[in-house]
């Protein structure tokens, strides 16, 4: 023991950081901040450190070359001892980090932590969110599978819509005219050097600001923030009713970080690593590209926006959102902090959460996408064929062969792009069916050129049988007399 303390003294005599570290650890914080609501920032930092460590471990074997990256991931998954586990830790760590960062953001927003004097802490936090999203997107690219390849194509398509500079930006983004080796190399540089460097620097500033300005006190309804008096009030609070950060407040942080790491490890073991999906060969077009979980909402938005609104929404939307987030502490820097007196803040969080949740849920089954193999993979349910005439069965054949099933569900299978057809005969008369099939409309392509009159007759005869036994098919009233 004496040797250890002697060595410690030797270093301390030279470094002289013992006292600043002790002061930092024991700085007083308001008693009520030793709460489970305040654990998300430290948990985000813990997961970030996990990401750095697992990222370095992956970089030992990953090959950032368009011709080798996919193979090196296969080797990591299948040949290197526990390579799959490190990949899974990194992938699940990414999901957890984004989730925790978002929860942290919602918490500090609801607790009014962005108000005076912590405006800069909030702004740096917004930048950290952007960098975290940047890491998630570039990380998905490094997986360099089919999803990554076509995801890059979507990124290029969106960038190309920027007025005037669009085509240049596409070339800069891709590092050349197409998605290829140079693209992967530059996303590797972004994911491994540029954005982590920015993250480390800005996390440092973020933490420094928390230490300098003190952690946000627990908001009390009626305790109003005023620029003139806030600092004095905060110091009184901390000195009258404060506890040292270590060990008073850090216990819950430590436990929560431990739980989060454990949860990541459990997910990694149970669910395994993400992909890679098919190899990044663009000539393999039998693919259904999907973004990673945290970009699914964007995928849904891009599918559901009316075409005319899409480009403005894509180009102006992010600027507005970012502008509002950055400007928030300036137009709402004073006043009430408690969420109990800020109904609009609570509603905003609820609205954003419900919207993102709904879009993510929708993107899970993507009702706007045709099911590309339904026509060959999902047979027509037997009850729709039993006891039918030869013409009607021929119509069912036309229905399958012409890929109607890709967009229309029958008996719960098939696409959701168009309406379900189980009761279509109740909704449309024979003439209306013929018109809809031949001319299309309402987002349905016209099949006039690709159906012979005989095929149309058979198809409509089949569609006419699609009604519940208790409901008669729709009839044209003007023909009732015939």
């Amino acid at each position: 023991m004496r040797l250890i303390s002697k060595v410690g003294d030797w270093f301390e005599a030279r470094l002289q950081i013992g006292k600043p570290i002790r002061d930092t650890m024991q700085h007083p914080v308001p008693r009520q901040t030793a709460s489970w609501a305040y654990v998300f920032g430290s948990a985000a930092l813990t997961v970030f450190i996990l990401q750095i460590v697992t990222g370095i471990l992956l970089a030992l074997l990953y090959v950032p070359s368009a011709s080798e990256a996919w193979n090196s991931l296969q080797i990591l998954n299948h040949q290197v001892a526990l390579g799959w586990f490190v990949r899974a830790l990194h992938g699940w760590g990414s999901n957890f980090m984004l989730a925790i960062v978002l929860i942290h953001m919602a918490q500090v927003f609801l607790f009014g932590a962005y108000k005076f004097p912590r405006e800069l802490t909030w702004i740096v936090g917004v930048l950290l969110l952007l960098f975290t999203l940047g890491m998630a997107f570039t990380g998905q690219v490094l997986r360099f599978d089919q999803d990554a390849y076509w995801g890059l194509g979507i990124g290029a398509s969106i960038s190309s819509r920027i007025p005037v500079l669009g085509p240049w930006i596409v070339n800069l983004l891709l590092g050349g005219p197409i998605i290829a080796g140079a693209t992967l190399s530059r996303f590797f540089a972004l994911h491994v050097f540029v954005i982590p460097g920015l993250l480390i620097a800005f996390v440092g500033v973020h933490l420094l600001l928390v230490l300098k300005l003190g952690i946000n006190e627990w908001p009390m309804p009626g305790r109003i923030v005023r620029r003139a008096t806030y600092m004095k009030e905060y110091h009184e609070l901390v000195h009258k009713d404060g506890i040292p950060f270590v060990p008073g407040a850090i216990v819950k942080d430590i436990f929560f970080s431990g739980f989060v790491l454990l949860a990541i490890a459990v997910c990694a073991v149970y669910f395994g690593p993400f992909g890679p999906s098919g190899q990044p060969d663009p000539t393999i077009i039998q693919t259904v590209p999907r973004p990673d979980y945290f970009f699914l909402w964007l995928y849904a938005v891009l599918s559901l926006l009316p075409p005319s609104m899409e480009t403005p929404a894509l180009l102006i939307g992010p600027v507005i959102v970012l502008g509002v987030l950055l400007a928030l502490p300036f137009f709402s820097g004073e006043g009430e902090k408690s969420w109990k007196r800020r109904p609009i803040a609570v509603l905003t969080i609820l609205l954003v959460a419900v919207a993102l949740g709904t879009f993510t849920h929708l993107a899970g089954y993507a009702p706007w996408s045709p099911v590309m193999d339904a026509w060959s993979g999902d047979p027509i349910p037997a009850q729709y064929l039993r006891g039918r005439t030869a013409l009607e069965r021929q119509g069912a054949l036309v229905f399958q062969a012409k890929q109607c099933h890709n967009c229309h569900a029958l008996g719960g299978s098939g696409g959701d792009r168009g309406p379900k057809l189980d009761q279509v005969a109740v909704e449309l008369t024979e003439d209306q069916l013929i018109r809809q099939v031949i001319q299309g409309g309402g987002n349905m392509p016209a099949y006039g050129k690709n159906l012979s009159p005989a095929e149309t007759t058979a198809l409509v005869a089949f569609l006419e049988t699609l009604h519940p036994a208790a409901l008669a098919p729709a009839r044209d009233a003007s023909r009732a007399a015939q």
């Binding site: 398509s157 070339n171 190399s185 899409e310």
Partner: protein
């Protein structure tokens, strides 16, 4: 010494040092910025597009639409499989063709041809196109991108080399000529 510090000999030297470093910084920055912009500058000097063969006409039966692939003219060994770019070739009749980019005009996903229904369908956001590439339904605002083509010595050639995107100047040109047979 009554002069302010910045007029002193030491202050002037420090200023001079900063200016000197600034000048060196600019000298270094010019080539570095040029290096960073090389994907853009290269496009302006050499152009990315060039004429490529998709193979003999016999591969593309009249009246049918077939998947073809070419190797991108600007490619490196490290590009691996990504240098192979697919496209859809529709042999209309005689020497009339339509060569469509694989990329959906919405956000670039690979469209698939369904000969039975005569439609191109996109697996991402649900864009659908007719056999001539014109928009049928879904979010795309325009038809499929078309390559310029020519028939030479029994081979079908297309002008290709860039990923087609909605905002690119070529896409805008093609948009204008959409519906008319391309002049090649």
């Amino acid at each position: 010494m009554s002069l302010p510090e910045r007029f002193s000999r030491r202050g002037m030297l420090a200023m001079l040092g900063i200016v000197f470093n600034g000048a060196v910084g600019v000298i270094l920055a010019v080539p570095i910025v040029k290096y960073l912009l090389s994907p853009v500058l290269r496009a302006r000097t050499t152009g990315y597009d060039s004429w490529l063969s998709l193979g003999p006409l016999a591969q593309f039966p009249e009246g049918e639409t077939r998947l073809a692939a070419y190797r991108n003219p600007v490619s490196e060994p490290s590009d691996g499989e990504t240098a192979k770019i697919p496209c859809w070739v529709r042999h209309v009749s005689g020497e009339r063709f339509q060569v469509f980019a694989i990329n959906c005009a919405h956000l670039g996903c690979p469209v698939r041809w369904f000969p039975q229904s005569g439609l191109f369908m996109c697996p991402c956001h649900g864009g659908v196109y007719y056999e001539d590439g014109s928009r049928a339904s879904g979010p795309p605002e325009r038809g499929l991108f078309e390559y310029q083509y020519k028939v030479e010595q029994g081979n079908l050639h297309i002008k290709a080399g860039k990923v087609p995107t909605t905002g690119s100047p070529t896409a805008r040109l093609i948009n204008i000529s959409l519906g008319k047979p391309p002049c090649a």
